[in-house]
């Protein structure tokens, strides 16, 4: 299977994401002007500061040509994974519910922490077990997940809250400790912490690899079917 990793002006984690993807499949970078996803079976929208985070994080990247192609791909059931700024972009593009606001403590949070797998039945978490803790770094200024309560109740009932911050960690003020959510159909996933920085024993944890392995398995299963 092949991953396509987007690159916007201001992206900074696309190379780590590309290298993480290559541990589990083929991968290539897609420029923000590309309208063609070049046969990718899964798309990664990486972290960084697309378009300088002007206006609101993710607000401008959403209008790039490649995002039109990604939206079509997602509507057709393709797997799309947004990390950090990529999560913000997917929310702004209405491919994911909710929004990400500046951290409640007004500080950039940068540290290794645990997230708990709440739903292991998604295409992005199938290589994990429910309740498993993954050690993954987080580094962001605007990671406070917000959605109105009624929307959150619906998402929880529908299994869309895939990952939550473990208790006792640094707090960005996220509603219900939400770290990562899927769309209603389950084929689009956004996560604030960075699994692409946790795939090599050299950096202390390989837990992030489980998410990329899950995507590779899911995409391979779809391609084979």
């Amino acid at each position: 299977m092949k991953f396509g990793v987007l690159r916007f002006p201001g992206s900074c984690d696309e190379v780590d994401a590309l290298l993480a993807c290559r541990r589990f499949g083929e991968a290539e970078l897609l420029w923000h002007h590309d309208r063609d996803l070049r046969g990718a079976d899964a798309i990664v929208v990486p972290g960084g500061f697309s378009y300088g985070d002007y206006l609101r994080a993710g607000a401008i990247a959403r209008f790039s040509p490649v995002m039109e192609a990604v939206a079509e791909f997602a509507q057709a059931g393709g797997l799309v994974f947004g990390i950090c700024n990529g999560f913000q972009v997917l929310c702004e593009a209405n491919l994911l519910p909710g929004a990400l606001l500046p951290n409640s403590e007004r500080r950039f949070i940068c540290r290794q922490m645990d997230v708990v797998v709440e739903n292991a039945d998604t295409p992005f978490t199938r290589a994990c077990a429910r309740g498993e803790r993954l050690s993954i770094p987080m580094k962001h200024m605007s990671g406070r997940y917000y959605a109105p309560d009624a929307m959150l109740d619906e998402m929880e009932a529908n299994g869309q809250v895939a990952l939550r911050y473990a208790p006792g960690g640094p707090h960005n003020g996220s509603a219900r400790d939400i770290a990562g959510v899927t769309n209603e159909a389950g084929n689009v996933f956004g996560l604030m912490p960075h699994p692409e920085h946790a795939v090599d024993p050299l950096t202390g944890s390989t837990d992030g690899g489980k998410l990329f392995a899950s995507i590779a398995e899911s995409a391979a299963a779809t391609v084979a079917a």
Binding site: L55, F63, L101, N103, A147
Partner: protein, 76 residues
């Protein structure tokens, strides 16, 4: 036509920027100031003002978390 768009955090959504400003005020000797909220202002020239609401909904504001109001100014 000159237009001014004011965008602010929706009522009830935590506004850490506003809080930071509010907390800094007593140290500077300003008292009796509360409920500080920080938003954004966008000024622009527009030929057809009827498209401004759509512009705000789609780009300038995120309607899930922000309220906006459009003010039309005199011809520049």
């Amino acid at each position: 036509m000159r237009a001014r768009v004011l965008i602010r955090p929706k009522e009830g959504i935590l506004d850490p920027q506003g809080q930071a400003v509010e907390r800094a005020l007593p140290a500077l000797g300003f008292e009796g100031i509360e409920h500080v909220h920080v938003g954004r202002m966008v000024e622009l020239d527009v030929e057809d003002a009827s498209q401004l609401d759509r512009l705000c909904e789609q780009l300038l504001a995120n309607p899930l978390i922000e309220d906006y109001e459009v003010e039309l100014l005199e011809h520049a």
